[in-house]
Every structure is written in C-alpha cells, then in structure tokens.
C-alpha cells in the first residue's frame, strides 16, 4: 500500500516538476525575447505551465498529508528529489534552441494530456482536461516557429537544424518508463507512455518535413535519469535561483 502511494506521489511530482522547470526556464526569456510579441508568447506559455504545475503540486501535497503546501514542494526540495524530464532543464540557448526544445515537448505534452484526461483519478484527469487546451495552443505556436525558421533564410535553417538535432538525445526519456512508472502503467493508474512514441514521431516528422528539416531519431543517445532524480548540471543552477528567496527567508510570503 505504502509503495503504491509512493508511486502515485512520484508521478504527480514528475508531472509537476516537468511543467514547472520548463516554465521557469521559459520565464528567463522575459524581457529578452527577440521581438516583443514572442517575448510575450514565451511568458504566456511559462505562465500556463506554472499554473498546471501548481495544480499537480497541490494534489501531491494533499496525498503526502504532512501538512505541506505546494510551495514547500516547489521551493524546499533538493535536486535529487526533482523528477522532471531532462529536456525541460536544458539551457535556453538561442531562440531556435528554445523553439526546438519546446516543439519536442509540446507534441509530447498534448499526446500525454490526451491520455491523462481519461485517468481513473478524477482530479488528475481534470487538470489534464484543463491543460490540454493550453498545450494544444502551445504546440501550434512552436510548430509554426519550427516551420518558419526551418523554411526561412539559410541562416535560420542552419541554426534550427542544429537545435533540432541537439535535443534528440533527450526525447526518448518521455517514452521510457522508470520502475515506478511501470508499476503504475500495469495497474492502469497512468497512461502507457511507450505507446505514445509512434504518434509523437509521426507528428514531429510531419512538421519537420514542412520545415525542410531532417533528423534521424535512431541516432539518439537516449539520455534518461531525470524521472529518478539524476539530472544534468543545469538543474542545480535553476533551483539555486528559483529557491533562493524561500531558503534565505524561510516561510516568507508575498
């Protein structure tokens, strides 16, 4: 029983951490976007993701039942406790890098939420139903930018082509279950992510073709570990900035 609850908690934290870390990353663009409209777009997407994350954290805090709040979970856990996908913590790079990372994630996010909204857990299903509308909108935006940059000038094409290749290694993690995910999939408590890979590849390729970009997914180095707390060096820096206030002034409130 205790183990089952742990798995469920892990899953909620994984969903929450993934959306929050990507939201935090995108918010670094605020005030620095290439043009005003896209600066605003990045901040809007960040806000949607942070909103989604806070809903999951709330459920996780309730499940944990130790009187903790969503803020405790976001601001007072250590690097090894975070279960976000590695792709979400990777640095923003240039605009094309951010777009490539976002595009891979958005297509996955839409497919995942589409399954999650059928979840037997009505609270998780409600968050997924709500967030799916937003994620679909994000996917349109990032797909459009992949096409615009890929099928744009020679320079934009070369830059986004490199970005698209750079993030391939981090995409397999979306579809490779951890041990605790395998248990949840077996009991029907989370969607079988292994079945999403083909749909994801089809949708991604559809956009890449339109964008005159190419990628060979079989060359992926399949970097995984984020869901089990094994992160790249980038995460610590994000947490240092994000958690600074709460750790320096414990229990502070806005």
């Amino acid at each position: 029983m205790e183990n089952t609850e742990n798995n469920q908690l892990n899953y909620l934290l994984h969903l929450a951490d993934t959306s929050m870390i990507l939201g935090q990353r995108l918010s670094e663009w605020c005030g620095k976007g290439p043009v005003l409209e896209q600066d605003i777009a990045l901040s809007n997407i960040a806000l949607d993701l942070l909103g989604e994350a806070s809903h999951y954290y709330e459920l996780a805090a309730n499940l944990q039942g130790e009187g903790k709040t969503e803020d405790d979970l976001a601001f007072l856990r250590n690097e090894r406790d975070f279960k976000n996908l590695l792709i979400t913590e990777r640095p923003n790079g240039h605009f094309g890098d951010t777009i490539a990372r976002q595009f891979y994630f958005d297509i996955y996010h839409v497919l995942l939420l589409n399954e999650l909204k059928k979840s037997s857990n009505s609270e998780t299903a409600a968050i997924a139903e709500k967030s799916l509308k937003e994620a679909t909108y994000h996917a349109k935006w990032s797909s459009e930018w992949v096409i615009r940059l890929g099928d744009g000038t020679e320079e934009s094409h070369d830059k986004i082509q490199k970005s698209i290749l750079d993030f391939v290694d981090y995409t397999d993690e979306m579809f490779i279950p951890t041990n605790w995910e395998k248990a949840l999939i077996a009991s029907g408590e989370m969607p079988d992510i292994t079945t999403l890979k083909d749909k994801w590849t089809t949708r991604v390729n559809q956009v890449l073709e339109e964008a005159t970009l190419t990628v060979d997914f079989s060359k992926s180095r399949k970097l995984i570990g984020g869901k089990d707390g094994k992160h790249t060096e980038a995460l610590g820096y994000i947490l240092a900035e994000m958690q600074y206030m709460q750790r320096t002034y414990p229990n502070m409130e806005w």
Binding site: E37, A41, D48, L49, A125, K130
Partner: protein
C-alpha cells in the same frame, strides 16, 4: 441565511474581471454554482487559464463583495472540470467586448488539434472589416491574441476561442 440564492447571484454580478473591466464574472461564465448551507455561502468557480494571475484576485473580490453585503462565512471552491470554455461567455459579454475594442471569440469550428489549421477569421472591432490578420497568437493576457485590421490599420486584441 438572510439572503436567497438569487440575491447572491445578483451580488456576484457586481464583481468585475480585473483584466477586462467591462465584464463581470457572470458574463465571463466562470461562476458555476452557488450553494447555501446554514450561514455559509459556497461559490464554485472555474478558472479561465491554469496560470491566470487574475484568478486569485477574482477569488478575493468575490469574498470581499460578499463580506461587504454582510455574508461572513464565504467558501470558495475551485472546479477544473469541465474546463472553462469561451462558449460559456454570455451573448451580452460579446457585445460589451466589441464596444470596448476587443474582438469577441468567434466560436471557431476548426479542429483544435490540427497544427496547420488557419487562424480564426476575426472581424475588426473598430471598423467591422473582415480583412484582418493575426499578428501574434499571444497577447497582453492569457486570454487574448493580437490582430491587426488591414483596412483601418488599427491593431486590436482578440479574446481567443478556448
């Protein structure tokens, strides 16, 4: 309880949306239910966007409004499902938005999942021309996109379909 449910709904119609101040929260379609139990009034609210910063402000405004009317025991409940849609906005709200210079949602029939779907065709709220273009999918708040009229050249906000 000294108030009827109908009176509570009336009070709630006095709470404005902080980001689109021409609309009240009933016109926006986010109040799902009002429940009266003994001396407690429970208001069930469905948020527009997951991360909309106005949500907590609206909750506070509801509480303050009901306290102002003499109701001390106010309970606010967040309900995510079914998810809020712009279809829940009243017909009157659309007219008010237009008069305020924001193009109301056009209830697009396009498939939301289609990545290559054309953007909604939105008439200009200033001159009424249908000759407009999408400038940016994202606008000044989560619920808006940015358009420009190709005839009168005015840029305008579009309350996007959701």
């Amino acid at each position: 309880m000294q108030f009827t449910e109908e009176q509570i709904w009336q009070f709630l119609s006095e709470v404005q949306d902080p980001e689109v101040p021409v609309l009240n929260i009933l016109e926006l379609g986010i109040v799902r239910e009002v429940l009266i139990k003994n001396d407690e009034v429970e208001v069930v609210v469905t948020p527009t966007y997951s991360g909309c910063p106005a949500t907590s402000m609206i909750n506070m405004s509801i509480r303050l409004k009901l306290i102002e009317k003499g109701i001390k025991n106010v309970k606010l409940t967040n309900r995510l499902s079914p998810a809020w849609t712009t279809d829940w906005m009243t017909a009157g709200a659309k007219e008010k938005l237009k008069a305020y210079g924001i193009a109301p949602p056009v209830y697009s029939k396009t498939n939301q999942d289609d990545l290559f779907a054309k953007p909604d065709e939105v008439p200009c709220p200033h001159c009424g021309s249908g000759h407009t273009k999408l400038v940016s999918q994202f606008g000044s708040t989560a619920c808006k996109a940015l358009y420009q009229c190709e005839d009168c050249r005015e840029p305008f906000d579009y309350f996007k379909c959701h």
